[in-house]
Subunit: 189 residues, 6 copies
């Protein structure tokens, strides 16, 4: 999996969560995870999570966005597990940067106190699995109570680079693990 | 997913990582995660991870063992992601019990300082996906430098019950998430 | 699988055979089979079976409709088998209510004499498998010769409740069966 | 799917439920359903259904056996659906031969009154899906209360030929149905 | 797989690479490979290969077109392998007709000298796998340097019929091979 | 896919066609294709192709062997397509080295005149897809009429290196192709 930081600021409006957006934006061919900074304003027709459709909207002025597209092993069940592992790893990276951080993961969401630090969705296209995960960089523009990296004095770019590196490393180790394990048979009774 | 603590102490020798062992041992039918306490002494012919075959052996006198068998969505790639998420969740549970804990996850392994706290393997059978994850309860019997729950003053049974509850909850939320998300199309260009 | 009768009468126009319609209509999350009573008037652009596109149209004034969406194991081959089993079970339920019934199943269709008692289609969405099955409650409005539950003096609601219960029970037993069977090897020669 | 009656009487001992047994026995290459008459005496080590291992044994003196091996679409979930549809079709065939028959299907089992008419199992091999289904031809040798085709005055060979023909026809229609159906999208809201 | 030559000349504009086009055009139900002769002028919105979107366009005045739709085993990875095997077989057929032919295959493209002899794409629909492969029959209308069957003095119809026959034969032998091979276990160490 | 020539001569006896043999022999982790030179003497219990079991045996004194193990996309249908593409590519490589070569591919077999130049099998393990392909280097030891690279004055090592390079390149291009293609919808009618 190729992981890359995109310098250019972009507004995430949901259309980025589409097949081949990473290819079009960056020229990367293959499984990839990219990150960039910018506002979030998801258009209602691009909302993928039906639980959010009648909600307060998905928006914030300043977030660090991650978009992950995988063309191999594209099932939605695996996609949601990838998403959860990404969220868990994000929390681990934050704790590596701020060892005294009190935060928690609830499914695909991270919370600091009662402030929601992140948003996320995992879905599929006919050719790939797609994940969006984003962490508030600073405050402003959100329809719910949020927490932000600025509260934690964590630099958004440093956090993103660290998470990208960690994900690249873990996906490589997962690919290796799959190739080194023996199948098992039936329990003898 | 049914999660259950097994009171009876058992030695984990690797044969438990076989299709239908949970069914035979507990009568549970279906996807399940069970935990029990006991020694670990994996027989060489039961070692699933080929990276361990020429290693120092897999053993410890007192561990909390988790065995997970899933009959739905049984691919090995998903299996390894389930395993990683289990490891990450174990660390989150430990931090919930000891907020000042300094520990880290490296793939499927947990470390406290330079002591290895856990072991794990994910594999497949012709009908299911199987995961073993175990955490040292106390010291003794291991061929490598380890850390143990006793170092952290964490009760093994309480830890296990908490992790079982957390995994049951997350698997339920994953199953729900899969049913609420819209597929996405191609990026318009 | 959650099975539910919907009291509200609705016209089935084909749009109900879409991903997440059950969720939107009932709030049920996950694999589900719902039933309701109402007219059938499938819009040409919603016809899924290409064999029907140039046919006489799909319509009837009063039917008992079943809509089934499955998010797990979503292949079309399995979908068509689910559909056939649903049709076969419908016939079994009818015979349980009218032991002297002379009727037959031909693929996904039920016939009483030369009257077509039912219509059905199985298809897929990017996230699920979808099945529509409907049985004529009373006569009227159909472009072909039909039979109806009224001919058999079978109450549509009672039939629907019975079929829903039977399907829930069989799907549960299928899920169990999958988790209790050993794989087999090669024939020794 | 090739369907064939095997004239030679054979004892079904469970070893026939193995990959490529049909190929070895008949020379048929590909998805096939074969039937033959003979005793049933399943060796304990060949029992596939773990629910039967501690049971009274699987035996009868005179049965009509069906063995089905499918190399395409080999998932166990589909396999169990194929099995259920085979059982349901067997009942339909019997009712076609004896319209006044009072019998019922409970999952993969057929009953006449409180007599068990049939046995069945569905499982997988690394290369295929396998199903055994057998109906008692005459009485004798069974460890439980059974019903038999002789009670119904149904000729075993005629029943087998009719069921083979029906299954061949339905599998052909299922294969066709898969190729004529349009996928559906998301429900518009 | 049914293979058929279509006598009627048609312009390939990319819309033929859609689910059920073969069914609509020919009435063939099931996996099929059809061929016809005609111009090629792919509309930009029908271009499937993103690598071609900003290219010189996909056009030629006179080609032999092959369209392949497979409803069984529809994964894209398999689809691309089918495509490559089709290209390789086309070259073998040409060499069978012109043993002294100097040509080469580069992925899915055939070249004679520096002239591009063919174009191709493999993709998926929600219900099938689709492949387009076309060979220049005569010169004219192409935006790049091409070679054509006329250069080789190969009759387009004869070539098409020969390739269709070869593909039908190989797909049959592939289907057979799948049903005659034993699975293997783990290497003993 | 990692491709590597193994200098050490080894006898291929069929046991090499087992999960993780490449890993054990070479230390390569992941999808790999390796080649080596040596005799061929397949033990009867290691024969994977049931069509060969009652045949004259699989043996030759001096062959160039290729063993391919793929852990991603492991279905047998894809495996057989990979095998056919490997055979086709081998012929292309030979023609690149001897442009005047008259040879033909028949499924997975290559022939020069009436001499069989190669043998091959594709199968699966519970964790991978496995392919063996071998070409006679010199004459001797075969139970059937063969052709050999020595007849063609082709150096076995040079041929192997060239085929390894070609396969690595094509698999890379296949992986790329999968990530650059848009899915297509339904044909408008």
């Amino acid at each position: 999996m190729i992981c890359r930081w995109i310098d250019r600021s972009m507004t995430y409006d949901g259309s980025q969560l589409s097949a081949h957006w990473i290819l079009s934006e960056t020229g990367i061919v293959g499984d990839a995870l990219v990150a960039f900074r910018g506002p979030c304003k998801v258009r209602r027709d691009e909302i993928a999570d039906l639980a959010d459709i009648d909600g307060p909207g998905i928006a914030a002025d300043d977030m660090v966005h991650f978009v992950w597209e995988a063309f191999s092993d594209t099932g939605l069940m695996l996609g949601v597990h990838r998403q959860r592992l990404l969220s868990a790893t994000a929390l681990e990276v934050l704790r590596g940067m701020r060892p005294d951080l009190i935060a928690r993961r609830d499914g695909d969401d991270l919370f600091v106190g009662d402030g929601k630090l992140s948003i996320s969705i995992a879905t599929v296209t006919p050719v790939s699995c797609l994940i969006h995960f984003a962490v508030n960089a600073t405050h402003g523009g959100a329809p719910v109570r949020i927490a932000a990296l600025s509260d934690l004095r964590v630099d958004p770019r440093a956090f993103a680079e660290s998470l990208l590196a960690q994900m690249a490393s873990e996906q490589a180790s997962i690919a290796e693990a799959r190739c080194k394990v023996r199948a098992k048979g039936e329990w003898a009774r």
